[in-house]
Symmetry: C2
Subunit: 191 residues, 2 copies
Amino acid sequence: MSDKSTRAHIVEAADQLFYQQGFEHTSFAHIAEVVKISRGNFYYHFKTKDEILDAVIYLRLSKTQIMLDKWLIEGGTPVERIRCFINILILNREKIKHFGCPVGTLTSELAKLKHAAQKDATKLFSLFRFWLKSQFQLLGHMKNADELAMHLLARSQGVATMACAFNDEKFIKQEVTQLYEWLDHYVDSAT
Amino acid sequence: MSDKSTRAHIVEAADQLFYQQGFEHTSFAHIAEVVKISRGNFYYHFKTKDEILDAVIYLRLSKTQIMLDKWLIEGGTPVERIRCFINILILNREKIKHFGCPVGTLTSELAKLKHAAQKDATKLFSLFRFWLKSQFQLLGHMKNADELAMHLLARSQGVATMACAFNDEKFIKQEVTQLYEWLDHYVDSAT
DNA sequence: GTCTATATAATGATAGAC
DNA sequence: GTCTATCATTATATAGAC
């Protein structure tokens, strides 16, 4: 197993565990168990736990950017593209029900820890924010595109939090329907 | 300092610290420092850390119930009462900006920890949920009162998460204005 | 690159003096 | 009811053999 491969395995295992158990609750021992390496071997690839966190955030940023690029092509119209965003609530409903939103929960945890990486974690939100903003601009909403983007992000965050708290999948579907309706109101109604 | 007083001090300090630092990140040493007692003295009042968490949740449930009872009296109409709920985003905006919503973040953390107390933490949401539901029923929305209550809870959760991520107080005010408008649409429009 | 063994610090928790 | 002293465990992190 080459250096790069082991490193990648560590980051991917950490990515999953940070999501499902939280950053602080996840120990080297736990990651090592998943990757099947010794704890000592860890420090060949990363000097500190914070470095793993940085790598995880970088991985998520990359994956998110790829997803957004894909939506840009696959979604024909801006509305269809924004629907792709809303639809991740449906696609990931099972995990959301158990662990909430990976972006929102990580950001909240790091905020409480006053962790230096919180700024980078927020960049995950920024990627969505500016992507959504540009889609709303394409819909003619030049003035309040950012406002609409933030609103939509907040709505999806709220859905994830409540769905997790009440373990309620039906609520996700209910709210997604409302979000689609909300979106339709913003088609060809530029101010 | 009597027994009851020290115990109450511990619970109140833990309440604040669990909110601002998270449950797991808060150690006995940290609580002890705030309350100014030794770590050993702790175990006279609580056998385990989980018992403190239970006490904190119970405290929050009590405080929430008192607040809801107060809103029931002070808010003249159901709409005014629901506005009281929305308005906590404004009243607590400074803390929300830094630490998010105390209910949402605790619930999310406990969900990831698979902590037994997650069920009790969700009861905090339930208090708001059923209180809001009954207000929407009074407004004539008999069929979808619970749906509206959950929607409003989700909206406020989303606002808190995003405001915390971007440290954005202005966004809170923006969204609160929209929530007031949303609420006005549901006055005398029962289905 | 990976391992074992170990250092060091902090945690939750206990025992017993006062 | 509060303290000091201490234990057991776990965590991050290091050193050095292979």
